[in-house]
């Protein structure tokens, strides 16, 4: 194992598997028919079941936020809880948030466009505009958990999650942060679903079933009391084609957590991630 490799010490997730702190129990997952917008016939997707954020994280304020921001807040809070971290004992000025996404806050971006379509560009909603920004989820996590270190949102075709994890590990390696909450996620909306469909990516024989969700991990530098894994090495890459479009860019981190969960639970010997 690489000396002082950043360790994954907590996991939280809001995915079709549910709203979870800690490992996800991998198992068969059934797609559900889409009912959130009008579709011709039956259309299927792996969807996050509606839930109340305050049931998962008491006191959380999520009014008028994009679902991606809400899920990020919940997943980050659950990951911190799973890590057993007392944030009061952490130097929050050295705690980073790194978020990976492909499409960002598209739900409220569509809502902003709807305002323009219905009322003209002069009639858009000022409250919506800041919530359309790609970094809104990461900034809400920082504000909610009072994490004042680097706050970064990245996109990279098909591997934004891995990109976020590698940038977070880099921050820790270079002493620019001691701890990082790393998140990745995307939501499914009518416009994004119909985009996939129009592009022919959902073809019955060779296509994929779209999904959505946010996965979060807490990454910590140095020796840790327990960990799920260490990030010993990694390589950024360029990808001419999406590699995980079926899960949006949440895919990388969710697949990582699923593989960790399948391999082990917390408290056992750390596993190295290539």
């Amino acid at each position: 194992m690489t000396a002082n490799a950043p360790a994954i010490i907590g996991i939280g997730s809001v995915t079709p598997y549910g709203v979870l702190a800690g490992p996800i129990v991998p198992g068969p997952l059934q797609p559900r028919p889409i009912a959130a917008w009008p579709v011709a016939g039956v259309r299927w997707a792996y969807l996050v079941e509606p839930f109340r954020a305050t049931d998962a994280v008491p006191g959380l304020k999520t009014r008028r936020l994009d679902r991606l921001s809400v899920w990020s807040l919940v997943a980050a809070s659950l990951a911190v809880r799973d890590a057993g971290l007392d944030l009061g004992q952490v130097d929050r000025s050295r705690a980073a948030v790194v978020f990976g996404t492909c499409l960002g806050c598209i739900e409220l971006t569509e809502a902003f466009f709807r305002g323009a379509a219905n009322h003209g560009w002069q009639g858009t909603d000022p409250i919506l505009f800041p919530e359309t920004l790609g970094n809104a989820p990461a900034s809400h996590v920082a504000r909610c958990l009072d994490l004042r270190g680097p706050n970064i949102t990245v996109g990279s075709k098909g591997w934004a999650a891995e990109c976020a994890l590698l940038h977070a590990a880099s921050l820790l390696r270079h002493g620019q942060a001691d701890l990082a909450v790393v998140l990745a996620g995307d939501t499914l909306t009518r416009a994004s679903y119909e985009w996939y469909e129009a592009a022919g990516w959902l073809a019955d024989d060779s296509g994929f079933i779209p999904s959505e969700g946010v996965t979060a991990v807490v990454l910590m530098a140095g020796r840790t009391p327990h960990s799920y894994a260490t990030v010993s090495a990694g390589q950024f890459a360029s990808s001419p084609e999406p590699v995980s479009r079926g899960l949006g860019d949440a895919g990388g981190l969710l697949r990582l957590v699923l593989s960790l969960s399948a391999a082990k639970g917390p408290g056992s010997r750390p596993m190295e991630l290539p």
Partner: protein, 400 residues
């Protein structure tokens, strides 16, 4: 030179002044403002903007549609190659980190929300492909034929500076020998409407740090820096524009849009960057400010300077060059990094335009009226954005 030093060996710029660092530098030295009435470009919108006129065509793959943001990024990238003066060794495997907030938003029409499938059928499918922020990094990489790692950064108005900081980290990690880092953003109705709805736009050309300031003006453009470790640049005898001596990123964790009232996050960011660069506050000769011209930002930013430079023996010279070419959002931090390097190379501190009655601050030496000529071994560029993110970059002369 320390092993962690990063050399800037190329700079490409496309701005409202046209292509090239020289055109921007000469315009800044001449005090030429390029803010114009918005109605000339986007009918129905009031206020002033700084637009890039007559965007030169770029030859590109037919299957790769470029948004205006992509187009600007590609032009800046091509200009960066020109700035290398033919010394392009190692560029094939270069990595790309590009910042943007708009990306392909300019390609999407509001009608998409009523019938997305129909909009895609009517030609929207090709246009939507440029929507993800990653598309800008891919456009730059594909256009220049570089095959190293690529990613995009979208951290509101701090994006451009952060892309340079993250690319520098990647160099130190050995991810690539050379990185192309910068930012690109286009003017578009979405952002004009959004900032207008927030009542953040000044109907007149903006007045950063003036007591009568009334908001910002939007601009557009792109800048791409070619960066590499000093050792790599030295080994290939590359001319060096400047050195990136330190960088830092922080978050206010305070409010979705407003900066921390005391500028605490930004002050911590500047202090951290000075720590990384092993410099004292007295060593910094100039700060190219975020300086949007909004009442909240400029007040908080002034407090940040008072905190970060409190141990300085004399006031810190500060100006905002957004008074020349507006706020270019995701490109702002990269363009202003280029401006800061211009200041070092020209030995000229650019004044803030229209600054007649500056905010009272004993800690700040507000630059105004005319460029101040002086040697400038070290200078800082700072950026901040919605969501509370801050970034600071410290540049130095190549010989320092």
């Amino acid at each position: 030179m320390s092993e962690g030093a990063i050399a800037i060996t190329g700079i490409g710029v496309i701005s409202p002044y046209g292509a090239g660092l020289e055109s921007m530098q000469s315009a800044l030295l001449a005090g030429r403002c390029c803010l114009e009435p918005c109605s000339g470009y986007y009918p129905g919108f009031a206020g002033s903007v700084a637009a890039v006129r007559d965007l030169p065509r770029v030859e590109f793959r037919a299957d790769f549609r470029l948004s205006r943001t992509d187009h600007l990024a590609v032009l800046a990238g091509q200009d960066a190659l020109i700035s290398l003066g033919g010394r392009c060794a190692g560029l094939t495997d270069a990595g790309v980190v590009m910042a943007t907030t708009v990306a392909g938003l300019s390609e999407i029409e509001p009608e998409i929300v009523h019938d997305p499938a129909g909009w895609y059928r009517r030609g929207g499918l090709a246009r939507a492909a440029s929507y993800p922020v990653a598309h800008v990094a891919d456009a730059l990489g594909e256009s220049l034929g570089v095959s190293g790692p690529r990613c995009a950064v979208t951290v509101a108005c701090a994006s451009g500076a952060m892309s340079i900081a993250l690319a520098a980290n990647m160099l130190l990690d050995g991810v690539a020998d050379v990185m192309l880092a910068g930012g690109s953003d286009a003017l578009c109705p979405f952002t004009l409407s959004g900032f207008g709805a927030l009542q953040a736009l000044d109907a007149s050309p903006c007045r950063p740090f003036d007591k009568s300031r009334a908001g910002l003006n939007l601009g557009e453009g792109a800048a791409v820096l070619v960066i590499e470790t000093f050792q790599h640049a030295w080994a290939r005898h590359a001319p060096i524009f400047a050195m990136l001596r330190g960088w830092a990123m922080t978050n206010d964790a305070y409010h979705p849009t407003a900066p921390h009232e005391q500028g605490a996050g930004l002050a911590a960011c500047m202090t951290s960057a000075m720590g990384m660069a092993h410099t004292r506050p007295d060593d910094i000769g100039y700060v190219n400010a975020h300086g949007t011209g909004t009442p909240l930002n400029d007040a908080a930013e002034t407090k940040a300077y008072e905190a970060a430079f409190r141990h300085r023996s004399r006031p810190i010279p500060v100006s905002s060059t957004k008074s020349y070419f507006g706020h270019c959002l995701g490109a702002a931090g990269a363009l202003e990094a280029a401006v800061t390097i211009c200041a070092i190379r020209a030995g000229a501190l650019f004044p803030t335009l229209r600054l007649s009655d500056p905010i009272d601050s004993p800690a700040v030496d507000w630059l105004r009226d005319a460029p101040r000529r002086q040697p400038l071994p070290l200078a800082m560029s700072v950026s901040a954005g919605f969501g509370g993110s801050n970034a600071a970059l410290i540049f130095g002369e190549a010989a320092v």
